[in-house]
Subunit: 220 residues, 2 copies
């Protein structure tokens, strides 16, 4: 039962957060690639409420929901390098706000780009760009969201970078043009091993998205 | 700019969380009742992303999103009585999981009871009861979610108790029958001043819901 296990998926922006957080903290772990079409008994049993990746299993005890897992990693290994969350209560609240914004607004509007057609697709695209601009304003001219150090909001948002090509291709727009500071921030994050080793090739992500959309289309 | 202000609404389960957390911590504050049909400039300016209550303004700096505010209160006034979040990282993760579950599953399925008709309404009701049973199992035989002490999950979930009458009336079912341990937990929480003084009369909540549904119906 001892040790750290991660049930993840190579293309899931939520699961990739956990790979990055564990790498940042230098925690060794056993990785299991889940087949989302046929989820393992371990996944279903460890996350009975959502039955979703990622699940972190630490000494036999499962932790679910990616942002909760990242905070758990920060708190369970406090001596492994710098903290991901800032120390100041107000800055912590700000960091939590923007990580939550990524889930509530960026993920949601982004998914509408490829799940919808016509007006709904255009609306999703417009909202996605508006949301990117909001988070770009929160980044401002800082190297990372928390300032000079890579931290909680960076871990929460950077996995989306491997989906940027899919958003752009499906929506016909350029993130670099709309949000140049976000593009610069992505490059800065990619200089870190924890990020570059965790993010898959954006073209491979897009291929898997196309396969998913094709299957869905055939079913419907 | 100094001091603590809360922009809230008497019937919002999210805003009431903040009233309870501030009362638990014995923090004095200035309360503003927002008119949700005509939101104040202060609300819109303090929460430009969501434009929603609650917003806590501490020494001029706004904190948004109720669960983030409750955690902020716990961290900004660490010496004001017992902590709301447990100390152990795993227990903290569990507490965050269930508070998040209240938002993602209980609120969402509950709202479908009165926002839908026919099959969708029945489905919302079934899911709402299933979700209540899941959180009831997490409570188990403990007095409060964290054990013997009133804490983060209790603060996050107890405001829903003043909506229980609305769920029951609109959905024609009894929460006490379906989830007797949740009913006992509500009574236990209501013995605390922080809770009983923050929760409005369930009948008044139901009247305001009926008014809202009537307006919506007339508009459509």
């Amino acid at each position: 039962m001892e040790g750290v296990k991660l049930l993840g998926h190579w293309a899931s922006m939520f699961a990739i957060r956990v790979n990055i957080a564990l790498a940042e903290k230098g925690v060794e772990y056993e990785y299991t690639q889940e087949d989302l079409a046929e989820k393992s008994q371990l996944l279903v049993g460890s996350n009975p409420v959502y039955k979703k990746v990622p699940v972190l299993i630490h000494d036999g005890r499962p932790v679910c929901e990616s942002l909760i897992i990242v905070q758990y990693i920060d708190e369970a290994w406090p001596d492994n390098g710098p903290a991901l969350l800032p120390q100041d209560p107000y800055e912590r609240a700000q960091a939590r706000f923007w990580a939550d914004f990524v889930d509530k607004k960026i993920y949601e509007s982004g998914s509408r780009i490829w799940r919808s057609i016509g007006d709904a697709k255009e609306e999703g695209k417009k909202e996605f760009i508006d949301n990117l601009k909001l988070i770009e304003a929160a980044l401002g001219d800082k190297p990372f969201f928390g300032g000079d150090a890579f931290g909680y909001v960076d871990v929460s948002f950077i996995p989306f970078a491997c989906w940027f090509y899919s958003y752009e291709t499906e929506g016909s727009f350029s993130i670099e043009e709309a949000c140049p500071k976000i593009s610069e921030w992505v490059k800065r994050c990619m200089e870190r091993d924890s990020v570059s080793k965790s993010l898959p090739d954006p073209h491979k992500v897009h291929e898997s998205l196309q396969l998913f959309l094709k299957k869905r289309f055939v079913k419907e």
